[in-house]
Symmetry: C2
Subunit: 479 residues, 2 copies
């Protein structure tokens, strides 16, 4: 590295403060250390364990979740259309079911090639399928003009925040704990996060009281509250909102003129109560509130994170603002085409009677049941661990247990000048190869400590390693 004068445009002292201040713990220090350990293991270093288990991020196919067969068949055929040529078709028919072949043909008819920039809003026929899916889910009409396909939910969320925020006077209500995309995006856009606390004792429910308190305080400080972020089902908490709770939030936001960003990416990951969308309740009650809701192909039973696909639906957003969203989308050119295709398959999967239905249905149910079982198993493990309290897993892909650390451990961490939950996570990683994220990365009530882990890891290995680690930990530090 050539030594550079400190006034170089890209030195740590000269870069944007907004960037420097942004934090994103899900892929922070712990994830970087996990990669180092993985390299150490690969180069033959002898450790107490033989592999790293990444439970820090909801990345299902990086653990053992298999992609849905039909989806990948369609993608392969659209990527290499020669398989559909007259000369190849007899062989192709031996490798692919007829409905995958016909679906690929329909898609190629519409888009030409997966190598094109599509319209920036996303392929029209896909948007029409999304609108139909939403209409059927909610029992209220949805229109393809209000659907924007995105490169995953994160990209859509950042677009809407970019429109909403003009500077530090503009604030967005975000839950604590939250998925750190929100605080990071607010940092980058120089907006003000307005935290409201979820209620841990009642399964991390969204407290209207907490939102109202945050709102009053903020207004008195001169901040303009532009939006309310609700993550339902919750990340990192796994909580699921009832229609009554949603109704209360809509009512508040209507009277306060606050836009709702409904992060509904885990809408199919619900284990006990059904998922109710914000859009449904909004239309049921005809609320005059602005809403943008987000969905993704990365979660649910699909788990196609690497495709970068999703959509957002605008509700009560005027056409001239929609044009501005279109402009922002067009600066990014278009979402990845295979991600757009997976959105199409997600909202329009094989139906009863289709050749692929049986296998699709079986795979889908298997993944669903597996996730539900793993959530329960991990929850039970936490209940066995001394000093750990865990709310029940209602949905999403995570548990966020509370860690009542021994006071001796808290003092040790303080001496290291580090948050105790971070020290715990780093010790766990170094001792067992299990990578999770400290609660401080998501926000937590002052004086409480948590960790977030996905429940995606298969088998009992993670649980056994963790229980043993925790037992030793408590023996070391217990009072």
């Amino acid at each position: 590295m050539t030594p550079l004068c400190p006034t170089s445009p890209l030195s740590i002292d000269s870069i944007s403060l907004c960037v420097k201040r942004a934090e994103y713990a899900v892929r922070g220090t712990l994830a970087i250390r996990a990669e180092e350990i993985r390299s150490e293991l690969a180069s033959g270093k002898d450790l107490n364990f033989d592999k790293v288990i990444n439970s820090n991020i909801g990345n299902p196919q990086a653990l053992d979740q298999k992609p849905l067969t039909f989806f990948r068949q369609v993608i392969a055929l659209t990527e290499y259309p020669s398989l559909l040529s007259d000369s190849n078709l007899p062989l192709t028919r031996q490798l692919f079911p007829s409905d995958a072949i016909s679906r690929a043909k329909v898609l190629l008819e519409e888009i030409g090639s997966t190598g094109v920039y599509t319209t920036s809003q996303g392929i029209l026929s896909v948007r029409k399928h999304v609108a139909k899916y939403i209409s059927e889910r909610d029992g209220h009409p949805s229109h393809s003009d209000d659907i924007f396909l995105t490169s995953g939910a994160s990209a859509g969320i950042q677009t809407i925040l970019q429109l909403l925020l003009s500077g530090p006077r503009d604030g967005i209500l975000i839950p604590i704990p939250q998925y750190p995309l929100y605080s990071a995006a607010l940092s980058l856009l120089n907006g003000t996060p307005i935290p409201y606390h979820l209620e841990e004792v009642s399964n991390w429910s969204t407290s209207l009281h907490s939102i109202k308190t945050a709102l009053e305080k903020t207004k008195s400080e001169g901040t303009v509250v532009k939006g309310l972020v609700v993550i339902n089902p919750g990340n990192p908490t796994g909580s699921v909102l009832s229609d009554f709770q949603i109704s209360q939030l809509l009512k508040l936001c209507e009277s306060e003129k606050i836009l709702i960003l409904a992060d509904e990416v885990y809408q199919t990951n619900v284990f006990h109560s059904p998922f109710v969308s914000f859009k449904k309740v909004l239309r049921d009650e005809n609320r005059k509130v602005q809403l943008v809701s987000f969905h993704t192909i990365s979660k649910g039973m699909i788990g196609e994170c690497g495709k970068r696909g999703g959509y957002m639906e605008l509700c009560n957003i005027p056409p001239d603002v929609r044009e501005q969203i279109y402009k922002l989308a067009s600066i990014g050119l278009c979402p990845p085409v295979s991600g757009q295709i997976i959105v199409d398959l997600m909202v329009n999967p094989p139906k009863k009677g289709d050749e692929s239905f049986e296998i699709y249905d079986k795979e889908y149910r298997f993944i669903y049941e597996t996730l539900k079982d793993r959530a329960k198993m991990l929850e039970n493990a936490f209940r066995q661990m001394a000093g750990v309290e865990c709310q029940g897993a209602q949905g999403a892909m995570y548990l966020f247990p509370r860690m009542n650390f021994p006071s001796r451990f808290i003092e040790t961490a303080k001496k290291l000048n580090k948050p105790p939950d971070e020290v715990y996570c780093m010790d766990l990683l170094n001792s067992t190869g299990i990578c999770i994220v400290p609660g401080s990365g998501f926000g937590q009530e002052e004086g409480t400590y948590h960790v977030r882990t996905t429940f995606l890891a298969p088998g009992k290995e993670l649980i056994d390693r963790w229980i043993e680690f925790h037992r030793n930990f408590m023996e070391n530090y217990g009072d």
Copy 2:
């Protein structure tokens, strides 16, 4: 649409001014009108032409460019790995060459599934291949740590600008004419564009004098110049820089402490002189200047726009800043996996002796020769048109002819309160279905008018329609 009070958070009066001010002509009014006409034609409306020709954007596969066969074979195999199972392999071998099969296996070994989030910087083995490619291209070492895979070049450029800019006091030198991503991104980030004019008379060359003049003026106004954007080969101009010109720019930026953003996405689209990278000259001369260069899979002979893939290479950027870039990348999770795979294939294509080499080489050369021929043909067409002056096509995918409009036409446009070049482009679109972009979308010397068109369209249809339109146009308005 429910009527909304004007204080709604997303109304045209309340949204971010930075967003509202941003312009992106390549997909602006004309592209939207082109879509309308396409719908009209689809619904049977009788027009003077039977199809829209999109020459407004470099989207090769939307015209008639075919994807490279080997690339798509590897993608299909990685997307549907069942094709590689023991039971399917005998059939698969009849449909796919052995080197595509072995390449897919190697890639899957590294990434597991195309459905995973990869590391945010991009798959390590792909970055290693990129570094090797750059080393061989330039004759100087490149390291995988300095390579970031991106969702196309645009995403990388926006990341670097986001790091560089802290507010309107920070400025970036951009060429006029420019690819409007730069002005749009500067708008969104509230930075100041500092225009420098390219010299039309000498094939749109980059004028050191013009940059120095812009620099002095800007400094006297208190703006801090953080970066210099150079697009080489040029968009929209097609010009190609010599190593001498690059050397001069490096020297200037070294002494002024300005970072260079080298947009080298058209590096393989050069027809006469060879492409020389900024990195090569920087290392040849051991300049202590910071450089970030960008490449893509969307252009060149690959044209895989819909995959959203590319990379950037950092040069003389300290590790603590690289960590900040990693953090920004991680907020976006990861680039699309199939885009990353195409980057791998781009920098490491079939080699002499490989089963697929012959067909790959033939396809590659065919596309190259076709583009070169089309550029020449269109250039010649412009030279036949009255009042049109066109610099020679040296590279990239565009021509940017100067339109010396009759004064009667300029007056007519003024009465419509619209830029004459925009009126011309809209008339051309409505009369012929040819969609191009007015020079005002890229910037041009006061009092001059241009249009930008790709030379991707096949056959003589575009040329014939345009020549006829222009003849009528000049007859209507000619003095």
